[in-house]
Symmetry: none
Subunit: 82 residues, 4 copies
DNA sequence: GATGCGCTTTAAATGC
DNA sequence: GCATTTAAAGCGCATC
């Protein structure tokens, strides 16, 4: 069991924790900004789920996108959903 | 079903998508910064899982404090039944 | 401010809370079962994301599924992803 | 790319999908039960948002208790640096 | 392979 | 009562 903790070490640990918390805060702010943009898009009549899909697709390799599609078709076929 | 989009609307959609992608990019950068700080902490000999846990606990603490405050008021309402 | 709370009312409240917590527990157990089945499917070589998509599609009205598809195509077109 | 699925594999896939759908159904039933209990509580004059909050807080409490226990051990590790 | 984290989606609550 | 805003649950991803 540790009885005494080095003051310096404690301070270092505290600093790291606070730096990370600050970064987390920034991330949350950006997430809020994203929400605002989404709302704005919605108010223009755009469909949010579709916009999300588009962003996902753009980020993705087109090769991979095709393979995903094909696999889905294959499974549909197997379940007579074709 | 709508099947054509005018040029102006196309541009608007493009803008929204790009703004969101930019924000996502920023978020990723911050996540990378967090990783850097984590690595630095690790190089000082700190245990990463522990640091994460501390941060989670601190977040819970502040949330809990806020909620408990409200809860008191709510209790009055809930138990002061007709 | 309420100083005293009717013992009977307290008990009733407690009972409701506990019944709900019990139900939550059951739900969690079933969610765990689902995970097990998923893992088993995976170990047979099935692709989990695709299985999820299939289930979503089966649950969904086929009319609605088509509309979703069309909207996505429309947005793709607008962003020259066609 | 695979483009055919043998009969046996089809059947396996179908079974997995149906098992998962069955589990989803059960979960939905329990969620309905929860709603019933909530309604009943409400008819006794209890405030639903408050009940939710109580449950959330209780869950946080038990989580927090567990985590804090572990954290003590972890701290030793983190601060007992080489 | 498992755990934690963040996003998506759906349900509820409140205000108009 | 409807629609907007907010909270809870579920899902998927990334990390270790």
């Amino acid at each position: 069991m540790i009885d005494v903790i080095d003051v310096d070490t404690k301070q270092k640990l505290k600093n790291f924790v606070e730096r990370i918390e600050r970064l987390d805060e920034e991330k949350r702010n950006i997430a809020d900004d994203t929400k605002d943009v989404m709302s704005e898009a919605k108010s223009f009549g755009f469909d949010l789920p579709t916009i999300r899909k588009i962003i996902r697709l753009r980020k993705m390799d087109s090769q991979k996108a095709m393979e995903e599609e094909e696999l889905l078709d294959l499974y549909k076929q197997a379940l007579d959903m074709a």
